[in-house]
């Protein structure tokens, strides 16, 4: 009886998630009347704006990931090692981007960093890109912090740190050679989540007027019928590809298997 319930729940879940996806995919293939084709995908790939916005978002995602890792890994490590009492506060701070809408954050940025401010980041394209990267890092913070913190939980941070110190290692060596390689899979999962967020983000990029992939998807969605679902399928493929990469890295990382 329990098995029947379990299978029913599983099938309902699959239908809930898979059916809309299948419907969307099918619709994206129906651009040519009366037959299935990849015309919508071809149109998307032929559009130069797709490549421009996608590569722009990809570069910014890379920058966001690097900044996020440099910010989150040492912070989460330090909190675990030296400030465990500050953990609830840090967790609360990292959760704030989930409750504060992106539009509020970006308006705050614009007020703080406009051309008449002390730090006029919005005055140049590069400055705005830096600002956008910071904004993306803020949006990805809850996911990145949790992923890294979960990774740190699987290792004995304090003892490994002390062992490395007793062998003459300094903080940078410890972080780079001991801590980071041991939470690499967690960092990667945080990085891929960041990538997914950055690729699809609309509000910040649109309000800062940057040529990102999110505003392009919105533009396409407002003016075309078949290309938007094709773009959504492409976005899903990227996300799933990233998830597959996480699995692959875990599999090839020998020492990670010990934790399974």
């Amino acid at each position: 009886m329990t098995r029947v319930f379990a299978w029913t729940a599983f099938l309902l879940g699959v239908l809930f998630f898979a059916l809309p996806l299948a419907g969307m995919t099918e619709f994206s293939l129906k651009m040519r009347r009366g037959e299935y084709s990849f015309d919508a995908y071809r149109r998307v790939f032929e559009d130069q704006r797709f490549w421009d916005t996608f590569s722009y978002s990809l570069i910014l995602a890379g920058a966001t990931i690097v900044f996020g890792v440099l910010l989150v890994v040492p912070t989460a490590y330090w909190v675990r090692l030296k400030l465990p009492q500050a953990r609830p506060v840090i967790e609360f701070i990292t959760l704030l981007p989930l409750v504060i809408p992106a539009i509020v954050i970006v308006f705050g940025y614009i007020r703080l960093y406009n051309t008449s401010s002390v730090l006029p980041l919005t005055g140049s394209a590069l400055g705005t890109d830096v600002l956008l990267t910071m904004g993306y890092a803020t949006l990805a913070l809850p996911y990145m912090y949790r992923a890294v913190d979960t990774g740190l939980r699987t290792i004995d941070v304090a003892t490994l740190t002390e062992a490395a110190q007793s062998l003459g290692a300094g903080w940078i060596t410890i972080l780079a050679r001991i801590i980071l390689p041991n939470v690499l899979v967690a960092v990667l999962s945080g990085a891929f989540l960041t990538l997914a967020i950055v690729i699809g983000e609309f509000t910040m990029a649109a309000l800062l007027n940057r040529p990102a992939f999110g505003p392009f998807m919105q533009l396409l969605g407002a003016n075309r019928a078949y290309e938007p679902p094709a773009l959504a399928v492409i976005a899903f493929a990227i996300t799933w590809g990233c998830m597959g990469l996480i699995q692959l890295v875990t599999r090839f990382s020998k020492h990670e298997r010990a934790k399974v």
């Binding site: 290792i155 004995d156 003892t159 490994l160 002390e162 062992a163 490395a164 110190q165 007793s166 062998l167 003459g168 290692a169 300094g170 060596t173 050679r177 001991i178 390689p181 041991n182 690499l184 020998k254 020492h255 298997r257 010990a258």
Partner: protein, 353 residues
């Protein structure tokens, strides 16, 4: 000044004084154990030597150099932890070579040293394995090799055998001692296991409540405990209440028997009560030549331990434990039977208040 000199160390956490005025000098090549119950401050002392904790007051000198304010990575110490603490992302060879790499030793020299270390611990074939592919004993051997590879000035062992099973513990502790003797490295071993401490140490420091109650060779600590705590903590001890008969002549009475202790061993007046302690191996079941003090007893418990049989008997109101060697022709006494125990006055330890 001793090679490792700890002088007037104090450590306060909040309002809790964990280590109080702790001083100790350790000679080069000496193996010293810090022994005591949980919370006695032994690990804190070790962590202060390692540099993981900063002393509230006092100083630490290694080879004449004041290292009190130095960071851990500048102290040239080696350390073994209870939880092995091997780096999970590195192979055995990389783990052993980590300290050498941090020191900037060139790869060929590093590889040679790693091979030498792995041979020393008897695991030359496991260089390419990861820690999760090793048993607990193997991991701790690798941890020892890793700690010794950069040739530290002092080796610190923080209960490294506690997580291992009994057989591996004994073999590994002997191995650690052999290697320590061979290399002549000054070593401090923290443990709460008195048997472990006694079996491998040149000197034991018994700690209680943040202070060193007594320091000395295992033989001296066991046979001449200076405080009641040391007597009770190191080995099993039977405490009998005696009444002073003549303090000047060292005469006390135990359960109606007069016992002559060394002249001047006791102070006090006639009728005062003193505590006499006896180790289980000093007491015989039945009468024995050279043990003139005989007391009636009832057998309460018999524990067969293989080569030794531990018997608990009741003497008046006190339970006394004694050890006898197992002999196939002499079965253990039945429970509840009436017997006698005997001991010599010279084996009795007069416990201070």
């Amino acid at each position: 000044m001793a090679f490792l000199d700890l002088s007037n160390l104090e450590k306060v956490f909040g309002t809790n004084r964990v280590v109080k005025d702790f001083s100790l000098g350790i000679d080069k090549g000496e193996f010293v154990s810090l022994l005591g119950p949980s919370g006695c401050g032994k690990t804190t002392v070790l962590r202060m030597i390692a540099g993981f904790e900063t002393p509230t007051s006092g100083s630490i000198h290694i080879d004449g150099q004041d290292v009190t304010a130095q960071r851990t990575n500048q102290r040239a110490i080696g350390m073994m932890f209870q939880a092995y603490a091997l780096f999970p992302n590195m192979t055995v060879a990389d783990n052993v070579g980590f300290g050498l790499r941090v020191k900037g030793i060139p790869k060929p020299d590093r590889d040679a040293r790693v091979t030498e270390m792995l041979q020393m611990i008897g695991l030359p074939d496991l260089a390419s394995r990861f820690p999760f592919q090793l048993s607990g004993g193997q991991q701790q051997r690798v941890a020892l090799a890793r700690a010794l590879a950069p040739q530290p000035r002092v080796l610190l062992l923080d209960e490294p055998l506690s997580a291992l099973d009994a057989k591996v513990r004994v073999s590994l502790r002997n191995e650690i001692r052999q290697i320590q003797r061979k290399l002549g490295i000054t070593t401090i071993f923290v443990t709460h296991d008195q048997e472990e401490a006694m079996s491998i140490s040149d000197r034991i420091v018994v700690m209680n409540g943040g202070i060193a109650e007594q320091a000395g060779a295992p033989f001296e600590i066991y046979n001449n405990p200076r405080t009641r705590f040391v007597a009770g903590f190191v080995g099993t001890l039977n405490v009998l209440t005696a009444t002073v008969e003549n303090a000047e002549q060292g005469l006390v009475s135990v359960e109606g028997q007069t016992v002559t202790l060394a002249t001047g061993a006791i102070t006090g007046r006639k009728g005062d009560r003193v505590a006499l302690a006896l180790r289980p191996e000093a007491i015989r079941l039945g009468r024995d030549h050279g043990r003139p003090i005989v007391l009636p007893a009832t057998i309460e418990e018999v524990h067969f331990l293989g080569s030794v049989i531990r018997v608990r008997v009741r003497v008046a109101g006190t339970v006394v434990a004694l050890d006898t060697f197992n002999r196939p022709d002499q079965p253990p006494p039945p429970l509840g039977s009436v017997a006698e125990i005997s001991f010599a006055a010279g084996d009795a330890i007069l416990l201070p208040d």
